[in-house]
Symmetry: C2
DNA sequence: TTTAATTTACCGACCAGTCGGCATAGTAAT
DNA sequence: ATTACTATGCCGACTGGTCGGTAAATTAAA
């Protein structure tokens, strides 16, 4: 589990968009961790879900850690894409970035990050896996604070992250209507920054 | 590890303040989980740290789950106490509760919740353990929102919780001075609720 | 002596990682 | 074009070890 990082990684994706066996295995791993939790995310379970043997799985991921890293990386990439998608359908202007981030994080459904929810259990079990997440978070804040005053960006940022994390932990104390009130306020704070009641 | 909830719990604390063997074992469990992480929080490790045999440990906690529940419960109690302590040394008035909560959560040191940090890994591994935490969170919000308008309470609440959780995850992107600026703003929002830059 | 507390020894399940081998496809030499 | 060789992808049995939980035996307390 130490530094087996880039030992033998068979070039498994010559063409970028192919559903290489590797990607199929990551999909399987996500299914397992979503349906059974981080504790039951075993190599055997992933292999079974991917309909390959354990040896076949470990051919592509030399260790369990390598598999987990790949999962986290893919989740981060998806997070990027979600924000970019929101940015694209938002009018340019003050607070566009902040609003896009807000919408991508806690926008209406929130169902698409069942993966993130499941991965929370994975990263808390392997704190080293947090490294890329940390970078991601830091870069995001930097970008958001370029657009609006730091204080306001930080406030919206923290509240959003708080809501997101509490919901990931299934610990949000807000009713549906309370949640809506909060979100409405956050949205207006992101673009205008007015007064607070 | 299934539903062994309240099977056989030998009445191990007749007198409430005694450093009953039970409490010593919980202390040991905390040491283990802090120093070695949730994954290495095994019954053997706790027994070793408490200087008892594994059988002795399991006499007091009929299952590992019972031990974890007790850990979580104690952490919640301590959270209550920390807030009460802050409330006591704060001038009564508008936003006292909110400010006490803020100070207790992310007040200067933050070192005393190494336990919480460690327990995060425990609860993500056993989502059922979140039940008492959920209650705790819900009750807290209700109390905070009685004092100041809901919108403002919720905003401070979420931002505080966001900062706290990100720091628990070791993922806070703020520098020390940025953190201070944010806290200063949150404090003033808790008691005054003025404008935002 | 009965009850409470604790020990020692063990079981069964689970799990990450290893290893030898198999099959297919491509390449090279004859 | 047949043969020899090699690389890739995959298989599944096995190993060494960990961990939660159990049970009988032992000691301490009431």
């Amino acid at each position: 589990m130490r530094e087996s990082q880039r030992a033998a990684m068979p070039a498994a994706r010559k063409a970028r968009g192919r559903p290489s066996a590797r990607d199929a295995m990551l999909d399987a791993a996500e299914t397992v961790v979503i349906e059974q939790g981080a504790a039951r995310l075993t190599l055997d379970a992933v292999a079974r879900a991917a309909a390959v043997s354990k040896g076949g799985l470990m051919y592509h991921f030399p260790s369990k850690d390598a598999l987990l890293q790949a999962l986290v990386t893919r989740a981060i990439e998806r997070s990027h894409q979600a924000r970019a998608a929101q940015r694209a359908r938002l009018p340019a202007g003050h607070g566009q970035e902040l609003l896009a981030y807000l919408q991508a994080s806690v926008g209406d459904p929130l169902d698409n990050d069942r993966v993130s929810r499941a991965l929370l259990g994975v990263v808390t079990g392997n704190p080293q896996l947090m490294a890329p997440v940390r970078e991601f978070y830091a870069a995001r804040l930097k970008q958001l604070a370029r657009e609006v005053p730091f204080e306001r960006a930080a406030l919206v940022y923290l509240a959003t992250e708080g809501l997101w994390l509490m919901e990931l932990l299934d610990a949000s104390p807000f009713s549906k209507s309370q949640r809506n009130r909060v979100l409405k306020q956050l949205r207006s704070l992101a673009v205008e920054g007015g007064k607070l009641p």
